[in-house]
Amino acid sequence: MRRINFVIGLMVAAAGLIANPAFAETPVEVLATIKAEASGTPGFMGFSADRGEKFFKTKQKHNLSCSSCHTDNPTAQGKHSETDKIIKPLAPAANEERFTDLKKVAKWFKRNCNDVLDRECTPQEKGDVLSYLLTVKK
């Protein structure tokens, strides 16, 4: 009997693994989460891919922009400005792993915005950037 229980347990576990999607979220779901956050701020008028592109490419503090590491072309491979480490493309069109894990997205927005702006990005800025990244095609 114990043996059977064990086998059933294994089968349930295996089924759970199969049922689990490869990615926790889709980029569109991530954008919706950021939007829900932004909607709470006064005067919110939606996101703009154009504004996002400008933000992405403009040098701010420490002579850094997002493109310093991710390049001006988010479908291309980037390179860490200090260590030269290769960074995979940031645009979902070129890298299907991007913006599929809310925790990872939040962690890197926090780190990178602090590097570039000396502060965290606002929900508006994050939504603009992601809207831009979703428009770039391979």
Binding site: H80, E82, D84, K85, N114, D115
Partner: protein, 167 residues
């Protein structure tokens, strides 16, 4: 090829194979603090590789003593000018992995633990023959860019036979 039909025999063969793998691991561990610093060694941990390999090559734990790793892990908010903080559970797991596989070589007496591999006496001595202009080569950029010269660094292999200084 012949097939092993007998289950007992198969069991014995599997056990033997396991013993062989385990002793292979022990042998490579024995090199850790000998003269074979460059010898390929592959200790790994998924979270370490992911977190500590995002901005730079994931520096193998054997190149710094445990107190250095502890100091690095408790100062991730100001990590060489970057913010490298992570959730507590992940940081704890990585700290454990680094401590467990850290260098056990006798350290020079130090008021504060060194945070850079590239500032240890060991590193300077291994690299004393590297010319100033090679360190300054834009293709190298920083002494911490191990992979610029150690072509197999990603697999944990720093053997001098696999070194190629970019020109």
């Amino acid at each position: 090829m012949f097939k092993i039909k007998n289950t007992t025999l198969r069991f014995v063969v599997v056990m033997l194979a396991m013993c062989a793998t385990m002793s292979a691991v022990t042998v490579s561990d024995a090199w850790a603090d000998g003269d074979h610093e460059g010898q390929k060694r592959t200790v790994s941990n998924a979270k370490w590789k992911d977190e500590c390999g995002a901005c730079h090559f994931a520096f193998p734990p054997r190149f710094l003593p445990a107190e250095s790793w502890r100091a690095i892990m408790s100062g991730l908010d100001k990590h060489f000018g970057s913010n490298a903080t992570m959730d507590e559970a992940t940081a704890k797991e990585i700290t454990g992995f680094l401590e467990k596989n850290a260098s056990t070589k006798k350290q020079e007496v130090q008021a504060k633990p060194l945070l850079r591999i590239t500032e240890t006496r060991w590193f300077k001595s291994e690299h004393r023959k590297v010319a100033e202009r090679d360190w300054k080569n834009p293709k190298v950029k920083s002494p911490a860019n191990c992979g610029a010269c150690h072509t197999q660094a990603d697999s944990g292999d720093f053997d001098e036979d696999n070194v190629k200084i970019p020109k």
